[in-house]
Amino acid sequence: MGIRMFRCLLVLAAALAVTAASAQTGAHEYKLANGLRVIVKEDHRAPTALHMVWYHAGSMDEVSGTSGVAHVLEHMMFKATKTVKSGEFSRRVAAAGGRENAFTSYDYTAYFQQVPKAALAEMMQLEADRMANLLVTESEFSQEIKVVMEERRLRTEDRPRALVAEALNAEAFFAHPYRRPVIGWMNDLLNMSYVDARNWYKRWYVPNNAFVVVVGDVKADEVLALAKKYYGRIKARPLPERKPQLEPEQRGVRRLVVKAPAELPYLLMGWKCPVLRDVSQDWQPYALEVLSGVLDGNESARLNQSLVRNSRVAGEVGASYDMTARGPGLCLIEGTPGPGKNAAELEAGLRAELALLVRDGVTEEELARVKAQVVASQVFKRDSIFGQAREIGRYETAGLSYRDIDRVLEGIKAVTAEQVRSVAKLYFVDDHLTVVVLDPQPLGEAQSRPAAPGARH
């Protein structure tokens, strides 16, 4: 289902839609005595409810040697608790007519169930139970870690472009934990024990490090009462200190080559870019958001029009930027060379487009187009209660508030053409750039390559 790599799909397919802020009017926020926050947004279009629990614990909170443990714990959360047998959680969600899943990112881990509204109380009961009573046993861990390694093989090891993305993060960040892949390095997974997962759970899975989001055909005060009943009895615990681990300034371009079996080369370029910290003072993230839309917000946007359709140095091209994050930001451009072109020609073409933008800026027409898309996306996103809940959670885990969503929209609408030009000039510079190129290898030769370190069989 969609959740697999959901963020990555959204970021790419519709850079605008991601940050497209919206009228979150009508949302209610509460805080229980144990520190758990509850955000409820009533939406009565259909008799369903979406229940999400978010933990401020993602892969960026991991330490070296146990990369991937946040995500492994996410898998373990579907196992036994003191009173609910392994697999029972999912059986009960299914029996309620629900669908469920979970997702782990750099910044957070989140769990959700979408159910007919009558089943909301049971979902809250189940979710509260595994917040406090999970048993992380050695036998269940030893099975599940195999699944996670298969997941890594599927998503990363055998996907050349995913290897490129992994390499880009590892190279762009020397100090910040964004350098480690969310799924973890294979060797760390091979050497992980149930104790690592259990420690992770004990450290981070507390009500004062979590919040609940409910969107759907519910009444806010009733949700609050249920939250008190089920989550309210869980005790708060002190959280470990979080070190800032700030990334030192990059001093010069970094370049890497990744070799893997493929037909087409692939180019990924990432520049250090600021993210949103102060919604009323910051303007650069808004300008970068608009810039991303000018480059790749629609089929006739600059990159596709110029490089795929006109010069044809690109076969595919995309730009993305995510202004909400706990850690440092990246502006990304990716592409494959067009037929008969190589990665160097593609890179030259991309650089020429950026140079043009820095020199001449963007047109008022382009600016208006991006803003029209942002405005429309405010309406469109309300079609999905899942999308609304997810947006609230993303803001909250990035250190912002769901209340900021509307102000961000105003911030984007206020961006000027000159601001777009100035952020392009300021941030799309080589000294802050990391470039990774996929050097495609024939299938036959790749077959005889030595096994990657860590690929123990």
Binding site: M1, G2, I3, R4, M5, R7, C8, V11, L12, R45, A46, T48, G87, S90, A94, A95, G97, G98, E100, N101, T104, S105, Y106, P116, Q143, I145, K146, V147, V148, M149, E150, L154, D158, V164, A165, P181, I183, L264, L268, E299, S300, A301, Q305, V308, G315, E316, G318, T336, G338, P339, A368, R369, A372, Q373, S377, V379, D383, S384, P440, A446
Partner: protein, 443 residues
């Protein structure tokens, strides 16, 4: 394109599996009424009024999927679909993209073995709606197929196909359909050779023969009244090409001889697919197969395949089964990916689970659980305009009864365990099962 993976999830079976299940799974709590009529030009229209949000979703689909393409021109269907967006007599490709984006509208496309079409999402406010729909109408009904875009898209498609030929999932899927469908057009996948043989005139001809009003299906969900929906449907179809004749009948789907194909690949995992042609969209056996498959491999984190292959043995991250009903017998498919060294054990386990299910069918408890989910979860299948649009578009394209959504729960409830076993035995004959293993280490 998809770069930085920042978020991982526990997959609910396989994307396709869920999609296929959802396409099917809609039950009987009050589904909104579907209004249906035929335009002056002969297009079928399906309309659901939904006033909750100021927006409209419009899908226009044609009987122009891959099955209408001659074998030696495989790829022509997809290429034609792409090139419809490449400009009209009045507006260039670039202008069409801008006209849509300028009013914040979104345009998506879909092509599969049966269907080819486009979906427009727009605000319902007058200025935005009018510009978005006028642009959509022009794009659909007056494509220019410019030579430059034709050459470019053809070359890009060749590149994309060559890239696909290096990916184990694509290699497996292409081989799987080839083995299942033999000489039937459902087997076809484009190759660089078939694409290179396509001329611009082929594209124009394919459009004229298949994007015709009489075989168009317009689905509208959202903020409009009947009168407006009628005007929109006319606007989108009045100037479509007209059918000169009915499309040539397709050959029947023939059950394949059971066989296993192993294809070498350097990936660390084997991609395994098993299945056979199983069921057409209008077949009443659909409901027992739907309920049975929920138990076997369709039901999220609770199916037998999930429990036996993933949960108990850790063989795979994703393991699933589904039926994909098409105009003719669409596939039953089981799929998984597992590290090469254990591919044969994992495959053997899948066969044990399948054989056991075929022999004994679902238990009483499993039947109850399946019905609870399929019936109880009905509301989730139609709780957004987007989901409704997709459901209603299927009803329209395959000419299912308009009461399909409302009858769904009752049809599911009626299924018995005996019936599931009998229908599976009839539809999934082990002697016809084809198996593909890509990355088997054997040449």
């Amino acid at each position: 394109m998809a770069p930085l993976v920042r978020s991982l999830g526990k997959p609910l079976a396989h994307a396709l599996a869920v999609a296929a299940l959802w396409i099917a799974a809609c039950a009987a709590q009050a589904a909104p009424p579907i209004q249906h009529w035929i335009t002056a030009s002969g297009a079928r229209v399906y309309f659901v009024e939904s006033r909750g949000l100021p927006m409209l979703d419009i899908k226009v689909e044609f009987d122009a999927g891959a099955r209408r393409v001659p074998a030696e021109r495989a790829g022509l269907g997809g290429l034609t679909h792409t090139l419809i967006k490449a400009g009209s007599a009045a507006h260039s490709e670039e202008e069409i993209g801008r006209l849509i984006a300028d009013v914040g509208a979104q345009l998506d496309g879909n092509v599969d073995r049966d269907r080819a079409g486009f979906a427009l999402r727009t605000l319902s406010s007058e200025r935005e709606r009018k510009q978005a729909i006028a642009t959509f109408a022009e794009m659909l009904q007056a494509p220019a197929f410019p030579q430059g875009a034709f050459a470019r898209e053809k070359a890009r498609l060749v590149d994309a196909v060559r890239e696909g030929e290096t990916k184990p999932a694509t290699i497996a899927s292409n081989a799987f359909y080839r083995l299942m469908y033999g000489a039937h057009p459902y087997a076809l996948a484009p190759t660089p050779e078939t694409i290179l043989s396509i001329e611009r005139a082929d594209v124009e001809g394919y459009y004229r023969a298949n994007y015709v009003a009489e075989r168009a299906v317009v689905t509208i969900v959202g903020d409009a009244d009947r009168g407006l929906a009628e005007r929109i449907a006319e606007q989108l179809t009045a100037k479509l090409p007209r059918a000169n004749d009915t499309p040539a009948p397709l050959p029947p789907v023939v059950q394949p001889q059971g066989q296993t194909l192993r294809i070498a690949h350097p990936a660390s995992q084997s991609h395994i697919l098993l299945g056979l042609p199983a069921i057409a969209r209008d077949d009443p056996d659909y409901f027992p197969l739907l309920v049975g498959n929920y138990v076997l491999g369709g039901g999220g984190f609770v199916s037998r395949l999930y429990l036996e292959v993933r949960e108990k043995r850790g063989y795979a991250y994703s393991v699933y089964s589904y039926f994909l009903p098409l105009a003719q017998e669409g596939p039953f498919e089981i799929g998984l990916q597992t590290k090469k060294e254990q591919a044969e054990e994992a495959l053997a386990r899948v066969r044990v689970v399948l054989d056991e299910f075929l022999a004994r069918g679902p238990s009483v408890a499993e039947m109850k659980a399946a019905k609870q989910n399929l019936v109880g979860g009905f509301a989730l299948r139609i709780d957004s305009n987007r989901k409704l649009l997709d459901q209603v578009a299927i009803i329209g394209f395959y000419k299912l009864p308009l009461a399909w959504l409302n009858d769904f729960a009752a049809r599911v409830e009626k299924v018995s365990a005996t019936e599931v076993r009998a229908v599976f035995a009839r539809r999934v004959r082990p002697g016809n099962l084809v198996t593909v293993v890509v990355g088997s280490g054997e040449n």
